[in-house]
Symmetry: C2
Subunit: 378 residues, 2 copies
């Protein structure tokens, strides 16, 4: 093997948290450099590959007892501009090794250039909805089992009450009791009808998570039928499928990312991906305009600190890649709005589902109350 | 909400492991029934939805101190025949809750009918390779950084030495130093040339993990260029993308599934998915003919017992869904072949990468030695 490799010299870095003693952490860092690139032991490599393809440990420091932080840089060319291969270099094989967590990505503009990122981002979505300042209000169509006509009736009531974004529950797919096309048509019409009455610009975002050969058709159908955005769970479809629909100029709709099936990446503190990286930075690279996650203190396992860090990742500087909306959800009640407003600031989408049903018998009134609560508390 | 729902009555089950006291496990099971379907508390539901859409706990029993096993059944219609939505019902939202692990799936033929599964399976792949009985021999083209011509030279040597399957390292994508199309053409030609000399039917399996809008093109190009199979990492592309290329009659090639990025699902025993379910049952539903995983005692974290269970999942009865090859890999050396043969039986693919380079200076001789070892030990 006598390869002579000529690369640009441009590199990107991944900051990992490594569990163990300093010696163990150093060994892990050295191993990541090989595992994520050449997948061969060092002694089987020749000079150019060792020097240019293998990752490099930029620095390593202790951050707490038994945990070290290390930045490892990789040649931009190992990724070649593809999100799938970027994910692979960041965490592919080492997802199968213990005590390694991706904390954050440090990507130079030369690599970011390969990605469009969110088409709308915070400013774009605010402009589209006509809500320049306050937090955005979101709720979900549910429960599974209702007909498309019943979903549309719900959507109408929500839109009339002042909700900004009405999304499908992510479990609504193309079930026989509520077929996708019928649902999208009826719900988009219902929201348009309410908008005529209110003069507002509420959008309906149907769920387009679907088999690989149908996602694009569903997204195009939704666009043509008047949906104002799309919901997708990249843990079900693959992150790059979300990127594909975000990039498609025929679609051109805002996208909410749902965390279904992604929980295992953040389930333990010592491995996987950080909330900052997965639901912030990576969601943005993959084109989401809003990143849904289970709020602290709800029925899921995220802590307040993890939620704060997630929101940081949704806005951290990433060249031309726009900041997006953190979207806390998951068993939130209306009485938590003031506190959530305090934690997340104004650039947030409050997604309240069941809690909005529970407040009183008149759903439209409940939405008005939700809106007043948010308007009073920013 | 006055839905009257008429369903088939056909149900499928998921067996979960739930951590906690019996009361906690029962509460978790009841919560899964709601969380994976309606996403509303029980008191907000009407009769038909509660009775037909919400999951049902079939049974719950203690299996060890602090761990309970529960079977929960769901109406087939909640899934509607889509792999993405099946994954969602099995583990979507509850991936975000602690102490819940998917142990195994129990799917009736009425649901399995929606999936073709592996096109070849064990018998089909053996027939294609002309290897009716013994374990199959596999190695990988690496390291990243070599040119396509150098990769082809390696492939030729491996094929000449008697390897059955030569796959790309999963980190080979479409990098500038080794473009996809050039690599596939040169490597497929090199393997064909070797096959003419040996009279054998070695296949080259290029990696087609790629952005969502390019996977199918890469798979079609590979097919047209003479590749004998495909490698894909569904953790990077989405599981249903693998299903899509497995189902496409224009492609019709055997598929090896690579576990990159899937490690977090199996990283801890109390949550995620079992090895049996993810690398066995789910890989089969998604069309893999072989499921690569890190062998116990290598450079990854799988235990002997987990590997055995994984191999069980690759063969467990699933109606018309064919059994597939467990493919242990990850830092294996040739001297472990007899022991691996003992653990996995004859229906296994041994994937040895670096270990094959290390045995001696002549790679073709090393392959012959590998083949003799396997032939002597079955």
């Amino acid at each position: 093997m006598t390869s002579h490799i000529t690369l640009s010299g441009e590199r990107f870095s991944v900051v990992y948290h490594l569990t163990g003693t300093e010696a163990e952490a150093r060994a892990k860092a050295a191993d990541i450099c090989l595992e994520q690139t050449v997948e061969l032991p060092d002694d089987l490599l020749t000079g150019d590959i060792r020097g240019q393809i293998v990752g490099r440990v930029a620095w390593l420091r202790q951050i707490e007892s038994g945990v070290f932080e290390a930045a490892i840089s990789f040649a931009r060319e190992t990724v070649g501009g593809e999100l799938t291969q970027l994910l692979n270099v960041i965490f592919g094989n080492i997802s199968l090794k213990p005590g390694i967590r991706v904390e954050r990505l440090e990507l130079p503009e030369s690599l970011l250039r390969s990605f469009r990122g969110p088409r709308f981002g915070r400013d774009g979505l605010r402009a589209r909805l006509g809500v320049p300042h306050r937090p955005l209000l979101c709720t979900a169509l549910k429960p599974m089992g209702m007909t498309a006509a019943e979903m549309a009736e719900l959507a109408y009531k929500f839109a009339l009450g002042g909700i900004d974004i009405i999304k499908d529950d992510h479990g609504l797919a193309d079930q026989p009791f509520c077929p996708f096309e019928e649902r999208v048509k009826l719900c988009a019409d219902a929201v348009a009808r309410a908008n005529e009455q209110t003069g507002r610009r509420c959008v309906y975002m149907p769920n387009v998570a679907a088999p690989a050969d149908r996602v694009l058709d569903r997204a195009l159908f939704a666009k043509q039928t008047g949906a104002g955005g799309l919901l997708i769970a990249p843990g079900l479809t693959g992150l790059d499928t979300m990127r594909q629909i975000a990039d498609d100029d025929r679609i051109g709709l805002p996208i909410m990312s749902h965390p279904a099936m992604q929980g295992s990446f953040v389930a333990v503190a010592q491995s996987g991906l950080s909330h900052f990286a997965l639901f912030g930075q990576i969601a943005r690279l993959a084109g989401a305009d809003a990143s849904i996650f289970p709020n602290y203190g709800g029925r899921f396992f995220f802590s307040l600190d993890e939620c704060r860090r997630l929101a940081d990742g949704a806005a951290v500087e990433m060249g031309h890649i726009k900041p997006i909306f953190p979207t806390p959800a998951g068993g939130m009640s209306l009485d938590r709005v003031p506190e959530m407003r305090h934690v997340y600031g104004r650039d947030v989408i409050f997604l309240i589902g069941g809690g909005l049903r529970r407040h009183g018998p008149d759903l439209t009134e409940n939405c008005r109350y939700f809106k007043r609560l948010v308007e009073e508390n920013w």
